[in-house]
């Protein structure tokens, strides 16, 4: 882990130096340093919520509000996402028409690997999320892709997350300028205000976690991906990471992008990377 991070930092310093040499006025603030970002990100949240342990953040608003926490504990006695996990498990090993299964598309047959997603695929030159990988698997085996926002996709990712529970998020940024760029684009998306309400993702999930906006207790951005997919009482059903992004956009009166567009995959990459080391808690239940 340390050596990897050191390698990233090293690789990056070299890159930044090269950039400096080309364009002299490059500011220190413009340098892309994921390791420093993740450190600052965690420090911000740990200082904002001194009573919470790092692993509490992956349980979102339930760690922020005592009344909510109690309702959550009661729900977890027999969690509402259990049907999705069972369905996902059944689907995962059921052969496609060509006889292959999802197991054939993933390392370790797909078990206990959720914490490695999203990953930067150097062959495709882009960030590949678990949802995208699942649909790529389907298409490679002659099956139609699933809708990204619910039902089958949520069941599959719920099962895969379930097999990774407790494993620390482990997102890698390979020594590839395209990977760094994707990371940086994701970060930019996260902090960019959009929609008529002029909200960035960070407006709610950095500045105001634990507070109520209208009726919801906002989740902290740190560890928010670790709980995906989630069963939301508000939705009365399961939803994927894609669904969460799309609904966030519409709530700020912005027209959502298409699920798994570059921006969404990149912001998932960024948010997952800065949560490295925190445990996978998905599938989660949320208000």
């Amino acid at each position: 882990m340390m050596t990897l991070r050191a390698a990233i930092r090293f690789g990056f310093s070299a890159l930044a130096l090269a950039a400096l040499a080309v364009s002299l006025p490059a500011l220190a603030a413009d340098k892309i340093d994921p390791v420093a970002d993740a450190k600052a990100f965690k420090k911000f949240f740990y200082e904002k919520f001194p009573k919470l342990k790092p692993e509490d953040f992956v349980n979102g608003p339930y760690s922020m509000d005592e009344g909510l926490h109690k309702q959550w504990v009661e729900k977890e006695e027999f969690p509402p996402y259990e049907f999705a996990v069972d369905l996902g498990k059944e689907m995962f090993t059921k052969p496609f028409k060509n006889g292959k299964t999802y197991e054939d598309c993933f390392p370790n047959k797909g078990i206990g690997i959720r914490q490695n997603y999203p990953l930067f695929d150097e062959k495709q030159g882009k960030v590949v999320t678990l949802e995208l990988a699942l649909n790529q698997c389907r298409e490679a085996n002659g099956e139609a892709p699933y809708n990204y926002v619910r039902d089958e996709m949520a069941a599959l990712t719920a099962y895969m997350a379930f097999t990774s529970r407790g494993k620390p998020m482990d997102i890698k940024i390979p020594d590839d300028p395209r990977a760094l760029e994707a990371y940086q684009m994701g970060k930019e998306y996260f902090y960019t205000r959009r929609g008529q309400l002029n909200f960035a993702c960070s407006t709610c999930h950095v500045q105001s976690p634990g507070e109520r906006v209208r009726t919801e207790v906002l989740a902290p951005a740190l560890g928010i991906m670790n709980a995906m997919p989630i069963y939301r009482s508000e939705w009365n059903s399961m939803g994927t990471t894609s669904r969460r992004f799309v609904t966030c956009n519409s709530q700020t009166r912005g027209v959502p992008l298409t699920p798994q567009d570059d921006e969404y995959r990149n912001v998932e990459y960024y948010l997952s990377y800065v949560a490295n080391g925190l445990p996978i808690s998905g599938p989660g239940a949320r208000p």
Binding site: E77, F78, P80, E82, F83, D86, L87, E90, N236
Partner: protein, 103 residues
């Protein structure tokens, strides 16, 4: 098809604790869909738990029970390995049943 009923029953010190989760929409008949039309009522009305032919718990439910209903109760008796029978029926005449071993 997988059962709509999930049951966990555990016996300790002659007390059996039972928890169940049932997959059912539990439409109350007061909710509108995205087109503004009322979703007709569709909910479980009867739920029973039996051990050795004796009812240990029975519920009458209305549409005010949450989607995918959850219930928890305990009763005296029941040993590890005993079979608990669970059945439900809804207002449209559908039903399901299962048995679960007490653990």
């Amino acid at each position: 098809m997988a059962s709509t009923i999930r049951v966990r029953a555990t016996s300790k010190d002659d007390i059996t604790e039972v928890q169940a989760l049932i997959q059912h929409p539990m439409d109350s008949g007061f909710v509108k869909d995205s087109k503004g039309e009322i979703i007709p009522p569709h909910f479980i009305q009867k739920l029973t738990f039996e051990l050795d032919g004796k009812t240990v718990f029975a519920a009458d439910w209305g549409g005010g029970i949450s989607k995918d209903p959850y219930i928890k109760f305990s009763f005296k008796g029941g040993k590890k390995g005993d079979e608990l029978k669970v059945s439900w029926s809804d207002n449209k005449g559908a039903s399901d049943q299962t048995t679960a071993k007490i653990g």
